[in-house]
């Protein structure tokens, strides 16, 4: 049951990425190209996603607990350490170079563009590396 529910929820996420244009690296890179062929579409993706999530989260949290049981698992950290700057800074360089962040890269994997087939295994290797750093393993998962 959790598998099927997550399959459906992931499918909705992927359809959102496809419809919004985020599965197209050229569109992402054009959003990031303020002084060239700027395409402001991605601001609308973020705007639509945050609007729905901001309101929806608050409605959901009023229920007190998730449908499948347990409790809401929200990040509790509020400290600003070097990792919260350094990690995203590194991620942003890769995002600019390739035009993919993790969701769109996985969504587009089956379309099998050669660049995507090079990107995704390297992304997974990078994820594995970061999770298996000695300093990272001490952190709560």
């Amino acid at each position: 049951m959790p598998f099927l529910a997550n399959l459906a929820i992931g499918l909705i996420f992927g359809l959102g990425l496809v419809l919004s244009g985020m599965a197209n690296p050229a569109k992402v890179q054009n959003f990031l190209d303020l002084f060239g062929t700027w395409d402001p579409s991605l601001a609308f993706v973020m705007g639509g996603a945050i609007l729905v999530t901001f309101i929806g989260y608050r409605l959901v949290w009023q229920r007190g607990a998730p449908v499948s049981g347990g409790s809401f698992q929200l990040p509790s950290r509020t400290d600003i350490d070097s990792r919260i700057l350094l990690g995203p800074a590194i991620f942003g360089i890769g995002w600019g170079l390739g035009g993919y962040c993790p969701g769109p890269a996985l969504t587009a994997l089956g379309l099998a563009a050669p660049g995507t087939l090079a990107f995704v295994p390297a992304m997974l290797a990078g994820m594995w590396l970061a999770r298996n750093l000695p300093e990272h393993r001490k952190q709560p998962a």
Binding site: G10, N24, A26, A65, F91, M127, R131
Partner: protein, 142 residues
């Protein structure tokens, strides 16, 4: 050039938000793709592997589901340099996990929770992404 698509992008963004809200309602979890995908690799922190696998398979099914419903294939233009794409993938994978989130976890879910950490993270990755594209296209590129 890519066409400016405010309505499709807004609607697509709303679907992403709907998915994030459904995952919170169903399982009480943040819809952070880097967190979900990276935990498909060892070490396994809990017993939610099948949930994460389902979510990622759902993502991967989306272009095909969209084609079945609309008959339209997904338009893509992917950078063709394979070494560059492998380097980009490595940076995206490492950086997103090292910084505890990516565009979805920090950018969508974190900002919606009014998290200051996620705001800092989002500003950091937007800044380096803008600078990277500027350098590639207008300083080093043609």
């Amino acid at each position: 050039m890519t066409e400016f698509t405010p309505l499709a992008s807004l609607a697509g963004g709303a679907l992403i938000g709907l998915s994030a809200v459904l995952l919170m309602a169903y399982q009480g979890r943040i819809a952070g793709i880097s967190g979900i995908a990276s935990r498909l690799l060892p070490p396994y922190p809990d017993n939610a592997f099948s949930s994460r696998l389902g979510f990622v398979l759902g993502l991967m099914a989306a272009p095909f589901a969209a084609y079945l419903v609309t008959g339209v294939t997904v338009v893509q233009s992917v950078p063709s340099s394979l070494p560059l794409m492998a380097m980009a993938g490595l940076l995206v994978g490492f950086g997103s996990v090292y910084g505890n989130g990516c565009t979805s976890g920090h950018g969508v879910c974190g900002l919606s929770r009014l998290s200051v950490r996620s705001l800092v993270a989002t500003l950091a990755f937007m800044a380096t992404a803008f600078v990277t594209v500027f350098l590639v296209r207008h300083v080093f590129g043609g």
